[in-house]
Amino acid sequence: MVSTYADSVKRASFDDSLMPPCQAACPLRMEIREYVDLIAQGRVMESLQVIRDSNPFPSICAHVCTHPCEDACRRGQVDNPVAIRALKRFAIEFGADRMIQLEADTKHSERVAIVGSGPAGLAAAYYLRKLGYPVTIFEAYSELGGMLRVGIPQYRLPREVLDIEVQRLIQMGVEIRTNTRVVSLDLLFELGYKAVFITVGAHQSLRMGIEGEESAGVVDGATFLREVNLGLKPPVGASVAVVGGGNVAIDAARTALRLDANEVKILYRRSRAEMPADPAEVKQAEEEGVEILFLVAPIKITRESGRLHVTCIRLTLGEPDASGRPRPVPIKDSEFTMDFDTLIAAIGQAPQIPGDFHLRIGKGTTVWVDPVTLLTNRAGVFAGGDAVTGPATVTQALAAGRQAAFRIDEYLHHRYPLADKQAKEALAGDLLPKTVEIIRKANRFEPPLLPPKARVKDFRPVELIYNWETAIGEARRCLRCGIGAEILFQDKCATCLTCLRVCPYHVPYLDDGGMIQIPADQCQACGICVAECPAKAIVLRKPYDRRHITEELDHVFQAAAQSRFKPLIIGFGCQYGLFGTGALASLWREAQAGIWIVPVLCVAKVEPEHMLRAFEMGAEGVFIAGCGEQCAREDTAFWVLQRVEKVKRALTQLGLEPERLQTVHLQAIDEDPATTMDKFAEQIGKLCLASALKQEGKG
């Protein structure tokens, strides 16, 4: 499961791909395009491996990531973005993430203390441990996880998921001190720690600043969620108001519904468009019965006979404020009053740094750090996560933790901090309308959800997992940005314009200087021009596919040489989709002949030489099995047929029957693929016999 250094060097040297927008948007720079492509091929275990390479706690991200990758996804310019987070969740569940065991050796003697066990702290512990440092995590609460544990409701992040990741950290040898509030950093250094990482999060709720805020029955969002998440069941009464429009407000509202509330209203001072909460979460909340009052803000709370009278005012949107969002302006004489049992104020949180830490405070109440080294004003004290940035996302915190681990490593070894490696150029630019027009439209599959009525009964996870079929279908929607064709050998290019003429997406063009350009941001990486270029001047930026076919062929022949099956039949089968994993994978077992499948990433990449090579190596019959209607690219079948005809002509001239080469669309036929293959094998058998007799006749 572990990719070695040699592997990565090998991979890198053949990889000229550009960083896709999803990866550029991900705080962890995950190789999204790669793992989505592996899911599209049904290679879920490998997909999980790619995911784990760049994410310390992928199962957590799979549940709660705010997926900035999906916002950047260029599929959104065609129809809807690829459901990347849900696909990751699929890979986690179907790739058996919970079975993965981790180990780490101690290579250094310098001990590192991590104050706070939120996502940033856990990620730092993970990477420091991998680097070989003895690590201790100090946590004030009774359990690890920080906001993951006390902030995020269980229906979004089941506690088993978090527990498994924590368990793995313990396996790796991270020392855990729960119920231990750090009061002095000096003490940590006295205890022998050489570096300290402060990730205390942002748990202090902001105050609304209105009259009656101190009344009983008014609670802040972070405290409310913490109490529920630590197992208390605070009585909220039948009707609850939540003030705010962020994810915490939505979480608080949905949590209240799962307690004893049967009426929950969210009061938000702007309109739906400005709501910072994830729209999918908002939709789910509304399905469950949460009512959102837009352009409404409380201005006064009074408590009478156990009920809260909340005076609200209606607002309208004015000029943009410092945050760039329109400023809500009160409408005169629009006050009205509503009664609630509980009011939850979730209008934001800020870090609260103990004064005894003697840390320099930056913007607001956050810790100041050097942006490159992540060092605070004190030697050996680093900080990251919400404590530095203010409330942010889990993935940002994980990225901060990872960065801190590397900075601490450099600090402890007196090295200069290496600037973050930007090894790859990021792909920029929108798809052109003419390209968008031709790309096949395919709507996004959303993962199934529990029905709203079932959800609000308890804290069961709301979102279910894709099945194989939908996951693979969804993964196939990826446009594979940044691995498209490029003219690698300009000196070979005869400017014959073949690429310009064969491209289904009209991507290549002649520039003013008379040179062919293939813009990377438009190319769909279908591979047709690569195979059709008469000068062989074009390659895909990730030429793995091409080598792969030849290597697989060699592999098949080595294996087939030991097999007793006759006649030998080679099939080039599309590896994408259910087709690759399902129908084809089992063929060689089910069919009677010696059928060997060479998996290819789209049959458009099978060149005539590949087909001829199969015959050269002794195949009696060759077939090309495309995925037919499932194909996500254009003109694939057309070009496969062109090449097949060319090879058939050559076979005829060589005295071989052209029927030895066939194309099959297993999807299109009603009968069992194995039966089809048996028929093909039988036909080939007869041809072999006939030609043997002919040979004998001649002799």
Partner: protein, 227 residues
Amino acid sequence: MIVAEQKSLEEIRRMIAPYERVLILGCGTCMTVCGAGGEREVSFLHSALRVAQARSGDGIHSFTEYTVKRQCDPEFLATLVDRVKEADALLSLGCGIGVQVAAEHFPDTPVLPGVNTSFMGAVSELGIWDERCAACGDCRLAETAGICPITRCTKGILNGPCAGTKNGKCEANKDIDCAWILIYRRLERLGQLDKMRRYYPPRNFRTIPRPRRIVNKVRTELGESNG
């Protein structure tokens, strides 16, 4: 551009039969563009010949492949000396010119033509080529509205159309446009129909002295430039 098509595999196999080590040599210019002998075709031919050898079981040949930018320039061929030394024959996928230049350049190595050089033409759509020029050495396109009657008229007549034109097509082949109808329409469009009324005397093809040569430099005697 020069257009050619690859010879049949049977013919190629017959040609190479006496030679053990065969270098398949592609050409990176016209033959690449017309799809008859670029690197892709070299590689395809190489594969096909290997299949033939594997299937027939009499494997005497060993093949190597290479593609130069242009076979019609000896400087490009000069880079091949070592490769050609290792070969018993050179199977050139260059046009007839390339084959001859290679033969001149490698006097001790048999050079075999892998393509039939067909004509000078243009692409009409991907994979379809049409003849456009006969290299007659006496261009009349100014009088025929840029449409060559020598190559595009089946008879090659200079005063058309003949009586065999029907609905704008040629009597010899109903899929072919009558060149003279095309000329008429275009002259009409250009307002030059008077050119149709002139008589063009027949041309004397026998005056072409073969092989032709173009000299585009000033001949200087040795020492002359020193004054």
